[in-house]
Symmetry: C2
Subunit: 443 residues, 2 copies
C-alpha cells in the first residue's frame, strides 16, 4: 500500500460515511443479521485461517517472543465463533442510536430548531490480537452509521482478513468502503495523520499503546489509558461490607481496568479492619504492600512511591492509612487516573465529600469498583471506556459513536428582521416533536 492508496481508502470511507448516515435502521439491522449468518456459514474458512495464526503464534511462543496469554486470546473455536455471531445479533437488537430528537425548540412562529443524533463519520480503530475485536468494532460502527477503518494486530492477520472478507461479502448493499481493513504498520501512521478524513480514533490495547496513539495524532481519541482505582474504607464503614467490597474489587477479575489498585483505610478503623481484610486477601493469593502506618498493624512488604500510581492489573495491592476522607480525596486526585473510585461508609456526609470531591468518571458509594462497565451500567454494547473528559467519559455505549446536527425549518425568515431597532423577539419555546422536512408548508 502506498501513501496514495491509504489516502484514497480514507477518501472512499468518507464518501461511504455520507451515504451510510442515511441507511435506515432496518437496513443496518438487516445487514448485521446477515453478518451473523455469514460468520456461522463461513466458520470452516475462518477457523482454518485462525489455525494459521495460532501456528505462527506458537512458533513465536517457542522463541519466547509471544506469551501463552496472547496465544490463548488469539485462538478461535466453534463455540467462540457462535458467541461472536450472537454478539452481532445482540447489537442489531439494540435501539437505534441515530435520528433521536435530542431537543426541539421554537425560535419564533414557524421557525423550528431540532437537534438530532447522527453518526460521527469515519472511525479509525487500531486493536491488538483478539480476532473478535474486528467483528465487534465493525458491528458497532455499522449500527451507529459510521464508516470504519480497521487495523488489527499482525499476529491475527489471517483471521482478520477472512473475517473482514466475510463481513464485506455479507453486506453487498452497503455503500462501498463502509469498512476498510488496513494491514501494514506504515498505514497506521498515515491514518493518524489524516485528521481531515478521519473523525475519531479508537485504539484498543495496553495503556502504552493508547498513549502512543494519543501522542501521535490530531484526531480525537476515544480510549482509556490507565485504571488506577481506589477503595476507601471510612471510619463509619460497615466493616464486613468494606471487606467484601475491597476483596471483590481486587480479586473478582484483577486484570481489568476497573479493579482496585490501592486500598485506603481510615486510621481510626485500621487496627480493627486490616487484620481480617489482609487474611482474606492472602487466602486469595494477593500480594500486599503497605505504608508505615499499615505495617504497624499488619505484616506486609513496604510500598515505594511508585506503588501509588501503579496499575498492577494482577493480584497485587497497595494499602495506605489516611487520617480522614479529605486525605483520601487528595490522595486519589493526585494519584488516581480519573477512572473509578469507591467509598465504603454509612455516613452520608463522608460519601458526599468523597463523591463530589473526586474528579473521576465514576464515583461509587458502597459498591465495588468492578461495576464500572457499559454492560453493567445498562448502556448496551460497550464501545469502550474513556479516561478523557471530552465527548464521552467512563463506560461508553453506542451514543459515544454519535454526534448531533441541527435542523432548522423556516418559512423564509431573515436575520435582518430579528436585528436592529425594530427587532422581532425570539420565542425560544421548547416543545415535544420530531423533525419532518417541510411540515410547516403542510399546515
Amino acid at each position: 500500500m502506498t501513501e496514495t492508496d491509504t489516502h484514497e481508502q480514507a477518501t472512499q470511507a468518507n464518501r461511504a460515511a455520507l451515504r451510510l448516515a442515511n441507511v435506515d435502521a432496518e437496513a443496518r439491522n438487516g445487514a448485521l443479521a446477515d453478518i451473523a449468518d455469514a460468520i456461522r456459514e463461513n466458520s470452516e474458512a475462518i477457523l482454518a485461517a485462525n489455525e494459521d495464526d495460532v501456528a505462527e503464534a506458537e512458533r513465536m511462543l517457542a522463541q519466547g517472543e509471544y506469551t501463552q496469554a496472547l496465544v490463548d486470546r488469539l485462538k478461535l473455536d466453534e463455540g467462540k465463533l457462535e458467541s461472536i455471531a450472537e454478539m452481532v445479533e445482540s447489537v442489531a437488537d439494540q435501539s437505534d442510536p441515530l435520528g433521536e430528537t435530542l431537543a426541539a425548540r421554537e425560535l419564533d412562529e414557524d421557525l423550528e430548531l431540532y437537534k438530532l443524533s447522527v453518526p460521527i463519520g469515519v472511525v479509525g480503530t487500531i486493536f491488538e490480537s483478539r480476532p473478535d475485536a474486528l467483528v465487534q468494532i465493525a458491528t458497532l460502527a455499522l449500527k451507529s452509521g459510521n464508516a470504519v477503518i480497521l487495523k488489527g494486530g499482525s499476529e491475527a492477520s489471517e483471521s482478520n482478513r477472512v473475517l473482514y472478507e466475510t463481513i464485506l461479502k455479507a453486506t453487498p448493499d452497503l455503500p462501498d468502503g463502509w469498512a476498510t481493513l488496513i494491514e501494514a504498520h506504515e498505514e497506521v501512521d498515515r491514518l493518524l495523520e489524516m485528521d481531515d478524513l478521519v473523525d475519531l480514533v479508537m485504539p484498543r490495547g495496553s495503556s502504552e499503546f493508547v498513549s502512543y496513539i494519543e501522542e501521535n495524532t490530531q484526531i480525537p481519541v476515544l480510549g482509556h489509558t490507565e485504571g488506577v482505582c481506589h477503595v476507601y474504607v471510612d471510619d463509619a464503614a460497615d466493616r464486613r461490607m468494606a471487606e467484601d467490597i475491597a476483596l471483590d474489587a481486587k480479586v473478582q477479575y484483577p486484570a481489568v481496568c476497573n479493579a482496585v489498585e490501592t486500598l485506603l483505610v481510615n486510621e481510626s478503623v485500621a487496627e480493627e479492619f486490616l487484620p481480617g481484610a489482609v487474611e482474606r486477601y492472602r487466602e486469595e493469593g494477593v500480594t500486599l504492600r503497605g505504608d508505615a502506618a499499615t505495617r504497624a498493624v499488619v505484616d506486609v512488604a513496604p510500598v515505594t512511591d511508585d506503588d501509588w500510581r501503579a496499575e498492577y492489573g494482577d493480584l497485587e495491592l497497595a494499602i495506605k492509612v489516611v487520617s480522614d476522607v479529605y486525605e483520601a480525596v487528595d490522595h486519589i486526585n493526585e494519584n488516581g487516573s480519573k477512572h473509578t473510585e469507591s467509598i465504603v461508609t454509612e455516613d452520608a456526609d463522608a460519601a458526599e465529600t468523597f463523591m463530589t470531591g473526586i474528579d473521576a468518571a465514576s464515583v461509587f458509594h458502597n459498591a465495588s469498583t468492578r461495576f464500572a462497565d457499559g454492560y453493567r451500567y445498562g448502556l448496551g454494547a460497550e464501545v469502550g471506556i474513556s479516561t478523557g473528559k471530552i465527548h464521552a467519559r467512563g463506560p461508553v455505549g453506542l451514543e459515544g459513536l454519535t454526534t448531533y446536527k441541527y435542523y432548522l425549518e423556516g418559512d423564509g425568515q431573515l436575520v435582518a428582521s430579528y436585528a436592529g431597532e425594530d427587532a422581532l423577539p425570539f420565542t425560544h419555546r421548547e416543545f415535544d416533536g420530531e423533525w419532518r422536512p417541510g411540515h410547516l408548508a403542510d399546515e
Copy 2:
C-alpha cells in the same frame, strides 16, 4: 515567567478546579454579580489602561502595522463597559449548567446509577484584541465551574491586566487560581503542551490562528476554523423568498462565519432567478463571480477553483449553477466547511435530500444561514461555534463547558454476585430522581 512558573500556575488552576466544581450556584452567581459591580466601580482605571493600549495601537496604525478595524475593536468607553457589566449579569441569570441529572437508572434493587453534569476542569483560552473577550470568557468559565487560564492579544495587554485584576479582587472567596492571566507568547506554547493539566483549549481569532492551535496541541480544542456556507435555490423555490434569504445571508453581516459564500442555483430556474438576485446584490455593493452557466445568464466575473472554498468574510459571493439537489449536496460536501447550509424550496423531498445528505453542524430549510448562532438558537450565552464533530458541534452554549460524572449508590453490592453460574440479573430500569448521597440507608 519561566517554564516552572507556567507549570506551577497550571497546577494551581487544576487544584482550584477541584474546589470550584463544588462551589454552589448561589456563590458562583454572587461572584458574577460582584464582578459586574467591580467593572462599573473601576471604570476609570479600566478606561485609563485602555487609553494606553489605544494610543500604542494608533502608533502602530500610523506605521501601517495595525488596521483601523483593530483599533476600533480595541477601544472601550463608558457605554461599552456598561454593556460588558450587563453581559456578566445576564450570564449570572442563566440557569445553572451544573448538577443536572442527565440520567438515572436502577441497576438492581438498592443499586442506583446517576449521570450528572459537572465542569470539565481547566479551560485554557487564547484570544485576540477585544478586551471584552477576557471578561466574557472568565464569566462563562466561572458560571460553569471551570478554572480558566487566559491569554489575550498583546495589543490589549494594559486593558486585560486591569480587567483581570478587577475580576480577581471582586472574587476573594473563590479558590485561589480559579482565573490566571498569562501574558508572554512563550507561555502559550508551554500551555499547549500541558495536556495533563489543561482539559480544553478555546482559541478565538482568525481561521489561521485556530488551525495553528489545533496543530500544536494534544489538548482537545473547541473552536471554529472556517465558515464556507452555502444557500441552494432549488427549482421548487419561492423566488421572492429565495432572493430575500440569499441576500440576508450575505449582506446582513458579511464578516461573520455564518454568512453565505457560495450561492448554488438550480439550472431550471437560473434564468428566472439570477437577473433579479444579481440586481439586488449589486444594490448592496456585493462583488459577484460566477461559473460559465451563471455567466451565460448574468454578467459577472469568472470564478477560479479557489473561489469554491473561499471564506470571503466580505461583500463577495461566488455563484454556481447546478443540475439538481444532488449536485448541490455533492458540491457542498466537497467544498463546505461543515458549518451551516441552507436550501430554499417548497418541495419537502428536496429539503429532506439536502438536509440529511449534507454533513454540517446546521442545515436549514427556508431560513437564512445567519440564524446559526447561540443566542438565536436559544442556548443563552454563546461559548463559541465549533466546526469539530466531537463533544460540541455548531453554536455551543454553557453545556459545552461541562462533562458528566457517574455516581453509583449501592448497599454493599459485589460484582461476583452478578457473574458466573448463579449471576443475579440487572434490572436496568430508568427512573426520575436526583442523586442524594446515602439516601438508600435512610429508607
